[in-house]
Symmetry: C2
Subunit: 512 residues, 2 copies
């Protein structure tokens, strides 16, 4: 590791510089792991998967050792001791705060468990990939059991107080959140969604999904998507788009933030919206302060803030009338069958509300219900109130309660998401939190910038992105998420903006 040895006479400022250097080197190795992961999900040949798992395990063990290095702890203590009080938002304070948080968490996890987790996550994801396709719950169950067992161990190791251990996993994705802080928001959201859904189902007006279907050659889709993403502000010289079975964003480093998508030859809609979603993540990453790269100050702060960016572009921006008034002529040039489709008909079909089996295909109203259900299930799984073998039954009961539907098979039921199999337990709440953040940010941006729909219609996305660059992206991890929303909008996080937005939008569309 070749860092200078700790010297007793080292000044605190030198200790801080040592930590900056250490942190940046760690980030370089993390960014290598990002490339290993990107490649695993895009171009890795079938025969290379077991070697890739070994590479990732070796790098994970190495990173765990760096994260728990006693020399790092000594330096950190030295730098902390000299902190100037009263500057909670200085770069130095922010870095020390996050280094401390990460170090304390990392040292609670034994290296063997960290490596086991990485291995199980990699194998679990691979198993899910093939077994979901074959609806093979029995084959998949051992992998899931292994992951759940390891995640329970991890959660127990991370937990400090007497609170439920699932909180420790939430904290991984959402610093500052816990079951208690989330539940009240989710309950309001669920009630509002049920109420809205009831009205929508009673409304006589119905969209025609056929308005979204037509010949969409992959190469034309790709060109179309790149034209749109460029206009939104995704820098393609610092990114790229590749096909993958499941769309994702990969931040490999400054100047290199990639997205993936998947194509449906009969409609450009799936690839377009998944691309805009991922580009929302990618634009956040591209907007982080590059001068702080490799330190907490330069990092995205949480998955909910990340999802607020992706879901805001995907839904609040790209499913709005202003957006399509601008892009519809281009869409018609690329996909001539749209010439027979009236723009209002297209927009209504795009925004159809209807309970569905698959989370990623859900509309904006029912989406949060999918999340809330998963939140409750994973909480029980980690708490030990639910065992993996009983999950399908619990899943179906949840689907009946929240969506009033039953999946015909495992693939479109309990096996539909990659998250649990890849160890991302505690992640789901971030999606619904992200929706709330998105609506609250959007309202504030509109208050500052004026009528956003008119700007979108004129093809002006720069000021909108600029507001986020300034108030969210460039902030990195300076504020914890709840403080970030307060700093950016002047208010605490609330479900009101999201609920109000949904009521207005769907009230108009369904003429209720």
């Amino acid at each position: 590791m070749n860092q200078p040895a700790v010297e007793d006479f080292m000044k605190p400022a030198e200790a801080y510089r040592w930590l900056l250097d250490y942190s940046t080197t760690t980030a370089l190795y993390q960014s290598m792991r990002s490339l290993l992961n990107w490649d695993q999900r895009t171009y890795l040949p079938k025969g290379g998967h077991s070697h890739r798992a070994r590479q990732i395990a070796a790098l994970t063990a190495f990173l765990h050792r760096r994260a728990t290095d006693p020399e790092f702890a000594e330096m950190l203590a030295k730098a902390e001791a000299s902190q100037v009080p009263g500057q909670p938002l200085s770069d130095e304070t922010v870095n020390l705060r996050e280094w401390r948080r990460n170090y304390d968490r990392a040292t609670r996890i034994p290296e063997a468990l960290a490596v086991e987790l990485a291995k199980a996550a990699s194998q679990g994801e691979l198993a899910w990939e093939s077994m979901r396709r074959e609806n093979d719950w029995k084959g998949f169950l051992p992998f899931l059991k292994q992951i759940i067992s390891l995640k329970r161990q991890e959660a127990a190791a991370l937990s400090t107080g007497g609170e439920e251990i699932y909180n420790a996993l939430i904290e991984d994705f959402e610093p500052g959140e816990n079951v208690g802080s989330i539940e009240a928001l989710f309950d309001r959201l669920a009630d509002a969604a049920f109420e809205l859904l009831e009205k929508i189902e009673a409304a006589p007006r119905k969209p025609d999904p056929a308005a979204l279907q037509g010949d969409s050659p992959e190469s034309v889709q790709k060109t179309f998507i790149m034209e749109i993403l460029s206009q939104l502000g995704y820098d393609l010289d610092a990114g790229r788009i590749d096909p993958s079975a499941h769309p994702f964003t990969s931040k490999i480093g400054p100047g290199d933030v990639r997205i993936t998508t998947r194509f449906d030859p009969n409609s450009f809609v799936m690839a377009l919206f998944s691309s805009i979603h991922e580009a929302g993540h990618a634009m956040y990453e591209q907007g982080l302060p590059v001068e702080h790269w490799g330190t907490p100050r330069g990092r995205s702060v949480s998955m909910a803030i990340h999802e607020s960016q992706s879901r805001m572009w995907e839904n609040l921006a790209a499913k709005s009338p202003g957006f399509w008034k601008h892009f519809y002529p281009l869409a018609r040039r690329r996909f001539p069958w749209l010439n027979k489709i009236d723009i209002d008909k297209f927009l209504f079909a795009l925004n159809e509300v209807r309970p569905s089996l698959i989370r990623t295909e859900a509309d904006e109203v029912t989406y949060n219900l999918h999340i809330i259900m998963r939140f409750k299930l994973e909480r029980m799984l980690i708490g030990g109130e639910l065992e993996p073998e009983d999950l399908p039954e619990a899943w179906n009961a949840g689907m009946e309660r929240y969506l009033r539907m039953l999946p015909p098979d495992y693939s479109s039921g309990v096996m539909q998401d990659v998250h649990w199999s890849s160890g991302a337990i505690g992640y789901f709440p971030s999606y619904a939190l992200g929706n709330m953040y998105a609506a609250q940010f959007y309202a504030k941006a509109e208050e500052k910038l004026g009528n956003l729909q008119e700007m979108f219609e004129a093809g002006e996305f720069g000021p909108f992105l600029g507001w986020f660059r300034q108030n969210v992206h460039s902030q990195g991890s300076r504020h914890l998420p709840r403080n970030l929303v307060k700093a950016a909008t002047g208010e605490d996080l609330t479900a009101d903006y999201l609920i109000g937005y949904l009521q207005r939008k769907y009230g108009r569309l369904y003429e209720m």
Copy 2:
């Protein structure tokens, strides 16, 4: 690094096991660097290059530290002390031999120089990429000077005796070789090439290059190439083909050996032969003993042996009549314009001998002249008899002497190859050595297996590949190259087989 501490009471067998583990872990990190390199040359966005250089520099420094770790040296000494004499080819002896060779070399290079070299190589390659395109010698020269200066330092650091320092760079690619051992072979080869070329130029029969030209859509080329490579034995489940500006092979790990190619829409010939060349490299890597992966015993032994595989498939196999009697029907289905071209006319055009400016486009007779000229130039560059600023003049003088041509610009002259700019000085001799190894191996395989042309015509490539699997690939680094050829063919390396092969082949084609 987390290796067990050296204990005085550790048994030699334990030390050896420690070394195996250490070596395999090192190889895992090396394989990460392979992926970083592969991605850099295929899909890395423009904006990501400077971050990639940082990643590679960090990993290179880390690998250098591992290669020179004193604990490794202690373990190595302990294991060496207990070696059973008289078993020079046991796995253990081979591993200890190579670990010692590599350790002694690595410790002679200061870490700062190793990192500087990696950085300069990465920047040099990038500069070459863009500046070659623009024929910008002036812009390129500072990068080249930097590399040459660093490589001189490296060569000086590596040199132990009083011999010329260029030998130390050859040794990097060809263990056991030096200027003296190479020169005699190259002189014979040059004389034979000049003589053969004179006869060919006097021969009345001339091929028609137009026989190779016709509409060749990229997607059809790719399918065609994959069909051929599969039949030859390249396992596409453990590999893939991507486009890149300059074709290369990347061994990322067991089950993952990738090749790249580039396409000419007016002829499938360039992409096909560059792919067969790279697949030759890749099949060698795929045939290495996987149970020894990560240790010297499981590694390819030298670049000449590597080039013997690539150039044998590309030339001795894929430019032969038997090969095309088998594949011509498939080629005609994929590229219908071939139906108007008689197979003999196609084969003659494929094997046209004519001095050319570009090494990679050279025929089998003049190819070695390109190499010999580069060998002499890089020897002078490292020896300090030639300075980078005088290289274009020396290049052109060499071209006049060896090929009797003058390049009209830098791009097709001194700037045509990536090797020097990327630090691969001492590599060129391996190509011509590889041609000699290839011809000698081929002759022996034919002696053992029977008429190879008849086998190729019948589409039987398995026994041929099998001979190499057994006699070359599975040997890994057990034998040094000169011993490998002796073990496989019963004879020392000689230029005779290559010269004889060229005389027979071109005597027939040109009816001399």
